[in-house]
């Protein structure tokens, strides 16, 4: 985990010194922010809540992710969401609609009028053969991120 954060910091520093590279490099929250490996802050009681047994409050962890500045922001929130709900997202993508897709594209800052078109494109290139949910989530995000920052860049600047 620490190694991941250190490497994330190194990547961020190198990106900060090279704006051109920054514009071209695609952020991978799984390798650079540790999504899929941790991910809630361990800051006292909030992270220790585990009501799964007592219930009277199920695992109610605050939704902050990694403390690195580069690992905050809308896309990282979307990556987190995809990681947590990839099973539903994948199902809804092959079906072609669903609440999870709406939330995901909102998080990516995409106008609702563009959602259907983006879903179609993601669906067309979707690879459902990955061997784990984390791998699925990572691949899904990277594919989506490419489209959102590429052909749908104009429709995905809402945030």
């Amino acid at each position: 985990m620490k190694l991941a954060l250190i490497s994330a910091a190194a990547v961020v520093l190198s990106m900060a010194s090279s704006p051109v590279v920054q514009a071209q490099e695609q952020m991978n929250p799984w390798t650079q922010c540790g999504i899929g490996a941790m991910i809630f802050e361990k800051n006292g009681t909030a992270a220790a809540i585990s009501n799964i047994i007592w219930d009277l409050g199920t695992t109610a962890v605050s939704s902050n992710i990694s403390s690195k500045e580069s690992c905050k922001g809308a896309n990282i929130a979307a990556a987190q969401f995809i990681n947590d709900a990839i099973v539903n997202i994948e199902e809804e993508t092959v079906i072609g609609e669903g609440e999870h897709l709406t939330a995901m594209l909102n998080l990516m800052g995409c106008e609702s009028s563009a959602h259907q078109q983006i879903i179609q494109q993601v669906r067309a290139d979707l690879d459902v053969s990955h061997k784990s949910n984390i791998a699925k989530a990572e691949a899904y995000f990277l594919q989506l991120d490419t489209k959102v920052n590429g052909q749908f860049a104009a429709q995905c600047q809402v945030i």
């Binding site: 009681t45 079906i95 939330a103 909102n106």
Partner: protein, 609 residues
Amino acid sequence: MCLLCFSISSHASNATALIQIADEKQLSDDRYWLALLHIPENSNRSEIVDDSFFLSDSRQPVKELEATLQAFFAPIPEDPNQHAQCRFIARFHWLQKHLPELTRLAPKIPCPLFANWSDQQQIGSVSAIFASGYLGNPASFYGHILLKFNSHSGKRALLQQQNLNFGAAVPEQENPVTYILKGLFGGYKAVFSYGDFYRNIQAYGETELRDLWEYQLALTPDEVSQLLYHSWELINRDYVYYFLKENCAFRMAQLLELVIETELISKRQPYAMPIAVFHRLAESEHHGKPLVTNIIYHPSRQQRLTSRHQQAPENVRQVMLSLIRNDYDLKLAAYQQLSDQEQSILLELLFDYIEFLKLSSDNPELLQIKNRLLQARLALPVQPPLAVAGSTDYPHLSTRPSMLQLAYIQQQQQAAAQFRFRATYYDLLSRDAGRAAFSALSMFDLSGRYFRDSWQVQHFELLNIENMNLSQTGLPGDGGWAWKVNLSYAAQDNQCKSCNTAQLRGGIGKAIPVTAGIVYLMQDAQMHNRVGRFGLLSADSRFGALLDVNRMWRTQLEVGYRSYLQSQLTDFTWYRWQNRFGDSPHWDIRLSVSQLRTTEWSLAYSLYW
């Protein structure tokens, strides 16, 4: 520098002036101020045990009010979010209402963290959410309550809405005994916390297969803001946690009572249950109108499977079963003959089914199977999925959780009166609403009988759980063994006197749904403490049916054979026929006859609250 000195001095004098006005108005005695500090009636001490929640050393209401006003005039720190105006937003707004000069005089502080959390305060409404009970985990039997802040910003979809949760902070790998003792006797801290709604959908609906029921509340914009402000103040503030009473139901009700005049949870009762809050919400009026405006059902994965399976065409259901029995071979002729639409319905049903199976199996093949199904669905055209049927089986329509019962007992020409109290929750005869059908969960169930001029304890059940674990779809893996656990002090049969014994009973069997009910076969084993008289063990083999004749009448007939091991007592055959009449959440009438060595009739009137 001089300007700064003047400014500080000016702020200090403004604060002093406002403190004087607040004293004159006796604001520190105001019920709302005490509620903001979480000081209960007839107490001078806050229930919050977190130092960071207080600005004064003494924590007394008047001192806290003075310290709060002073803090509102403090210089802006490097991080404005740390300023008292941002940390104590509810206090600030309430004091602004009562001290109008505060708005003009206090420094203007931006609160970006709060603005982000509250979606720039675009929260249009608040919902209370009931997560149905979960018999797979003892501490989840009674369900759960959380709040949802509904943003009317188009940028936040349903799954992105902000939730407020309350729960105990329990260390990982806690010893179960320590866990129970600390939970019961205040050994844990508890906090309010927040998160997006999708996390709850994942945790409850997808993992624990619990339905969520969202009760939308008719609050005014000002009331919504008050809740939002105070919720922000409460996040991560420590309380002492008591599982039975000062739990999520108690704290969420307390929070809602900030803006709702109805008492949403009894402060006198020694236990607090989430469902009780929903009973009160559903029957409450607010500003002359029903408090609950709408109830939205968020079905669990299992309920989605059940609903879609019931709606699917018969041929699709048959092919689904064939596929399951043939390793999900999509080359199967029956599957290939289906239309695109039917194939889509079937594959989506299988998505639900596979995910349902994955919860009880680590078989990695399930992921591979799911991948094949996803690939097949990907090759079919886009079309809307089969809708999940709504439900009007709202949790608040269930029988109230606590019971008082008065019964007339007739046995062998002799009559007796019986008084019964049950703290919680429901039995096999209770009406099912918003919970597992034909199940029982009760705790602290005490019956006293007046017979031959004296009272005697007839029955005391500390715990009784019966889970019929029914299959809703008939598919392999759906449903399982029915089971029962019972810890009680009770008579062994109708005939014996002074023959109560402490006993632990466990049972296992199978229940099958039939029209309007179930039939079941169970094998129970009991361990008793009065070994000399009853032997250590006895067993009951029983066969029964539980049927809803109509909405007003549920009947249960059970026939069994009791055998004793290493005891002088003779074995015997027994039966029990019990009926519940009425479907009110507040009362019912029960008529029963049982034959356990001798016959006993009972007619009872039960009150629930």
